[in-house]
Symmetry: C2
Subunit: 402 residues, 2 copies
């Protein structure tokens, strides 16, 4: 491996650099050399003015009921910067004063509770790294054409370190009645986005989160409180959480009947399809990028599963004929992005690259053909098919069908 | 434990909340209920206008040669938001164009290299979570009085997910000559901040980082390139890295002779004290906070070691007479912040709380008395003593000596 890397480096990647480097020590001068004092220290930092990575916004007349997509191809590691976490709002981001906000827990409980944010912060807390993914993510890929790039195709998924109070602790305090089986989770946005949550999940790994990546949750992610249901579809991770109403059956809200159900080819609809299936995608190189010619390139991407840890990611550089294991960034969190990396020497001959994830339950990410055979093409949700990218002889990367 | 928590919740923490909650289901109304559409989706997010957490700036006439401190008491989990990562500059933050920036590797190498940022990004990469701590952090605590709060006392430490190229890969490509033992690492700031780095560390776990917490390194952290030497004092993690000059001996730069050495009580100075010793501090509750009266409080804080993983953190709630293990947030990264948590019932009687870290080498964080016995008080660097906080009967928290 070391030997291969050196060959790549010497032969190609560093070729240009080496050519521009004088051979005698001391004869090399690096031009850039500021001589004036730079900027002073500051209270809250900003990124470099040379950086312009941004979320992708749909062209829409109702940007309050829309989505924005994370630029996965421009990010590194597994943490999504909070400023670039994807958005999907149904009535815009409410302006909530944390001193006024309350969380109500009522219904089939012994002791209804109203909690302030300050009270929640005083309780035992946990921090965990988890992805959140809209179940509509990758909806573009039901069509053979698909989205032109990874941001538009896969950008409704992001990953953060969330901190909050285990919901099980609050429910134990409230005292669940024995008939309690479901609860309504309701947001404080104008449309009162609401979903039915099984008590079993709420008692398992659910969290009332108040922090994201070290600081307060961002407004567009649910400030001041968000329900985090690790590994479950984004929409049920209710933002601006104001109410949990415990009941003995689901509520069949508009947000889980008119939307977030999946019409199958037999005319029946799947409902309450909470878990996000294992998925992966190569983010570099990916659609609409152009790589710098033959030589060494690191293939890199992300894999995640709503059912636990990613166990393995395989990469094919010949359109799926042969597969080799990628290197996984450690430690691998459960229900979180896992970064994979794969060394690749691009020979300048057109080829197709694709990744395939396996999670700790043994579930293998299906191809698009396999997924359609199982589910048909009526649904726009829960597409987790593998994603091939074509790399042309000139290094330009496109959708296979483009 | 569950029983204890329920008692705490019922008796105290939730007492007020429960009192304000009507007993009949349906009779409870949460007042806050926005009815107008909220904000639309956006390209790059900002925090809530209700949030004002910020770095602490020293009162100085030269804010270009100064520091700013991370508000550890207001953060959650282990990731420091990039906007709140501490700063320590010697001539301000330079304005560097990544398209113009170069990294030169020369001296005792077979093949000098000049690398662009784009070339570096094409190479095999790694992402790892590591703390960076100024060796002057906690310098205030050599004095019995100490800093009044954890931000001013301990805020020159932060923790990020760094992504970059292993330096060993570049040095293998450049070809180290057999006499190569040290290298000068030089920044592109006006003062050309420079430090001598042993080749052994460079070949071990050093990284040329270009990303921090998922996006490009922030300007004040070294944009576009920073040398990351995991676990070593902040100053040697050279920002705005422009040059590595390989040699057979250290360079004895001004930044490692006039500064960043440690005068001992016998008049001799320690030099090249690179590794940061194991350290911990309770961040909540901490100095200048006031907790909300008797009842349950979660004690929480951070521990880290330059020599590897944190193995154990113990907490004392009786001024060091007895110690109990705290819960550690998993997974624990090597040379990274580890969050610890400890459930505590404050009885309303004045007491002293303190934490103590043990790292995977078995090293135990010393008390202030033990540290001074070993090193005297002439140095301002590398103070890693345990930090007791006094909690008064009214819940106000201060330095023990305040």
């Amino acid at each position: 491996m070391r030997k291969d890397r050196r060959k790549f480096l010497g032969a190609a990647a560093l070729g240009g650099a080496l050519a521009g480097c004088a051979s005698k020590e001391g004869a090399v001068e690096v031009t850039e050399e500021p001589s004036l004092l730079g900027k002073p220290v500051g209270a809250y930092g900003e990124r470099s003015p040379f950086e312009n990575v941004k979320r992708h916004l749909n062209d829409t007349k109702t940007p309050q009921a829309a989505s924005s997509r994370t630029p996965l191809h421009q990010l590194h590691g597994i943490i999504t910067p909070s400023a670039l976490h994807f958005e999907r709002h149904h009535s815009g981001v409410p302006h909530l004063d944390p001193a006024q906000h309350r969380l109500l827990i009522h219904g089939l409980v012994e002791r209804p509770l109203v909690l302030t944010v300050a009270e929640l912060k005083r309780l035992p807390s946990v921090s965990r790294v988890h992805f959140v993914e809209c179940s509509g993510n990758t909806g573009s890929e039901w069509s053979p054409k698909g989205a032109p790039d990874v941001q538009r195709g896969f950008g409704l998924a992001s990953c953060s370190e969330w901190t909050g109070v285990p919901l099980s602790l609050l429910l134990a305090e409230a005292g669940l009645k024995k008939e309690a089986k479901w609860m309504l989770a309701e947001g404080a946005d104008p449309c009162k986005m609401s979903r039915s949550v099984p008590v079993e999940k709420a008692m398992n790994d659910a969290m009332i989160a108040y922090a994201q990546n070290g600081e307060a949750i961002r407004p567009e992610q649910g400030y001041p409180l968000r329900l985090i249901l690790p590994g479950w579809e984004g929409n049920i991770n209710v933002k601006w959480l104001r109410r949990l109403h415990v009941a003995d059956e689901p509520f069949y809200t508009k947000d889980e009947t008119s939307k977030y159900t999946e019409l199958q080819s037999d005319g029946k609809a799947r409902i309450f399809t909470f878990e996000m299936d294992a998925k992966s995608v190569i983010t570099s190189p990916s659609g609409e990028q152009k790589i710098g010619g033959p030589g060494f390139h690191e293939i890199s991407g992300l894999a995640w599963s709503g059912r636990g840890r990613i166990e393995k990611v395989e990469v094919s550089i010949d359109g799926g004929k042969t597969w080799k294991p990628a290197q996984l960034q450690e430690p691998r969190y459960s229900k979180a992005f896992t970064r994979f990396r794969f060394p690749w020497e691009f020979t300048g001959v057109e080829t197709i690259i694709v990744s395939r994830a396996v999670d700790e339950t043994g579930y293998v990410q299906p191809s698009r053909q396999e997924l359609i055979a199982a589910r048909g093409t009526n649904s726009q949700y829960h597409n987790n098919a593998t994603k091939p990218w074509r790399v042309a002889a000139d290094g330009s990367v496109t959708n296979v069908e483009a």
